[in-house]
């Protein structure tokens, strides 16, 4: 059981959490991660952000990451929502919500999904700066290192 969604619209964290837990009594822990748009990157003031993605491949890549997490940890349910299009500072970008019977599985699965999402799911951020210019965000080596720590 899992849900993956790529959408322009905002999401409601409590509603997504409710949807995962509704009618179940076997869930012992949920872990929820929400990523937000920051207004400062590399010392520049960011006024807005555009997220491009690869329709079709994005959904497949996210499903694959969730399925890999489910093989490594006990995941009873998972929801991943990633927004695309125009976003502003403080907007929610990404949600990962994991339900498990044990907290450590929920924490690890959530962390793993975010680390893999950041290095394997085809999204690209473009920042609009306050001076009117724009730039594509460069991939960070630290994200590769974060993903590498899950390699067996």
């Amino acid at each position: 059981m899992s849900r993956v969604c790529v959408q322009q619209e905002d999401f409601d964290v409590s509603r997504e959490l409710q949807a995962i837990c509704d009618g179940r009594t076997d869930i012992g822990a949920t872990v929820t991660f929400v990523g937000l748009v920051r207004d400062l990157n590399l010392d520049d003031s960011v006024s807005a952000m555009t997220l491009q993605h690869y329709p079709g491949m994005t959904e497949k890549a996210l499903h694959k990451i969730v399925s890999e997490a489910s093989q490594r940890w006990e995941v009873q349910d998972a929801t991943v929502i990633h927004r695309v299009g125009e976003l502003s500072p403080s907007d929610q970008i990404v949600l990962v919500c994991i339900a498990s019977s044990h907290r450590q599985d929920a924490f690890d699965a959530c962390s793993f999904i975010m680390d893999y999402l950041k290095t394997r799911a085809p999204f690209w951020k473009k920042e609009m700066l306050k001076d009117g210019s724009s730039r594509w965000v460069d991939a960070r080596e630290s994200d590769d290192h974060a993903a590498d720590r899950w390699k067996e």
Partner: protein, 82 residues
Amino acid sequence: MATILYFARLGEQLKTSSEQISLDDMSTVRLLVDHLQDRGEPWSSEFESGRVLVAVNQEMSGFDSHIKESDEIAFFPPVTGG
């Protein structure tokens, strides 16, 4: 014909987001990239950077991957979601 897609900064630099190419005897991603680089600038330097990723039929692949007509081959910079 194969469908070739270019995303994000790469698509902007190349001023195109998609095209159809007859692969003929280009049996690997590497041979297709050689062909694209033969177009001159900005193609040659964009693919020279070593920071271009490839997906074949929406699966992350390598430059040695085999390709055929009807495949969807996408080139893009390292991803920056999340």
